[in-house]
Symmetry: C2
Subunit: 240 residues, 2 copies
């Protein structure tokens, strides 16, 4: 039966998931569009499918047909979408290969781009500080191009994370725009962990102090810094 | 004298500059904030300064004090700004070093990021196809972090641009996700020109056919492609 009212209790629950508070409370998040739906299906995390079309038939997963105004209210995209899914948040797993730590990344587009590049360059795990922007922000999901389903993301205090990585024989690389080894001269082993800092302030001093090496990407003096997503991606490219 | 009305003819002119059509017609564009104002002053392209504060005193440049509601209407930023300037569009100049050609880049954030990385990695000139997003779009300017004032941007049909670059002994590199030389194996001379393609479709076939070499960045098969700004930046990093 088609849902027609914005006052429907299901609709109200779904709309709440646009806010981080409710995503955290319910351990759920929303995705939009066919491409992400396919990625989420492969991962087995789809709980409910909502669409303006009747076409969907995914065995065992509850399907809800809704009208255009409900879809418009639920969507974060200007151009709208024809399908939205409620998904379970992704499980954290053991770390096996190269790692990236994110220290207070604030821009959801940067986080999504970092995830996309991390998968491209075979980074196994991203450890995000608790003050990093939400992984399940719609802009993060969109700019990850679905790659968030293909990487292990762990939320943890970075000082603790560094200690446990060191116990597993990881070498920790900090980034610093002024000091350190030229990235082109750096050779990474097969257990490297690189810390990418906040867009305005870089990597916190307390974390830099815990690093085995500091690295930098040489750039023209005309340009103050690289975008955080760009810097991260160039380092991943060199680590790969 | 403070301007208080949104109906003021000056205010109406300024607001029109938020649209590409009027920027093109008047050869002017708007920038927001102190940081961009400083960069534009160095470049000598500031025509008018508009602010809610009385503080500004820049010799010879007309200054207009306005109220908060005018400033809010003019600003493209959610958090607002205290200063907006009308600037002359930047002049195109002769090409001297490494070059990047942009084939139909559509995302203003990507264009801005490409400009920022290009300056960082000493690319001299960016040639944009006529169907690339406007250089003077507020999001492009913002994500360039003011670096658009430090690079030569030329708008030109890319087939013509390639012909004239070849006449100047440039080597033309296309990007292609499937075929071509591994970027890590590519050695660029000091007159290299690289073409970055549209976000969805890559570099047009007709342009690829005119290239001396095609290059690609090796990535995991899990990830379909890199973000265009990321791909461009990694190539600039290797060309530098």
């Amino acid at each position: 039966m088609k849902i027609e009212s914005l006052q429907n209790s299901k609709v109200k629950e779904w709309i709440k998931l646009k806010e981080k508070k409710y995503r955290d409370l319910n351990n759920l998040f929303l995705i939009e569009g066919d491409h992400l739906l396919n990625e989420a299906m492969i991962k087995g995390v789809v709980r409910e499918i909502i669409s303006t079309d009747k076409l969907f038939d995914f065995e065992g997963i509850p399907f809800y047909e809704v009208n255009d105004s409900i879809m418009k209210k639920m969507s974060n995209q200007v151009s709208g979408t024809n399908v939205i899914c409620v998904c379970e948040k992704l499980r954290e797993r053991e770390i096996i290969g190269n790692v990236c730590l994110l220290d207070n990344i604030q821009d959801p587009g940067n986080l999504g781009t970092i995830i996309r590049s991390a998968v491209a360059f075979n980074i196994d795990t991203i450890i995000v500080s608790p003050d990093t922007v939400d992984l399940y922000n719609d802009k993060t999901i969109r700019s990850s191009e679905g790659m968030l389903f293909h990487i292990n993301v762990i939320k943890q205090n970075l000082e603790d994370a560094i200690d446990s990585l060191k116990n597993k024989d990881y070498k920790i690389y900090g980034t610093n725009v002024e000091n350190g080894l030229d990235l082109k001269e750096t050779s990474f082993g097969n257990k490297g962990a690189v810390i990418i800092g906040n867009e305005g302030n870089g990597v916190k001093k307390a974390l830099q102090d815990k690093c085995d090496s500091l690295i930098y990407i040489p750039i023209s003096s005309t340009c103050e810094s690289l975008n955080a997503g760009i810097a991260a991606s160039i380092i991943f490219y060199e680590m790969n």
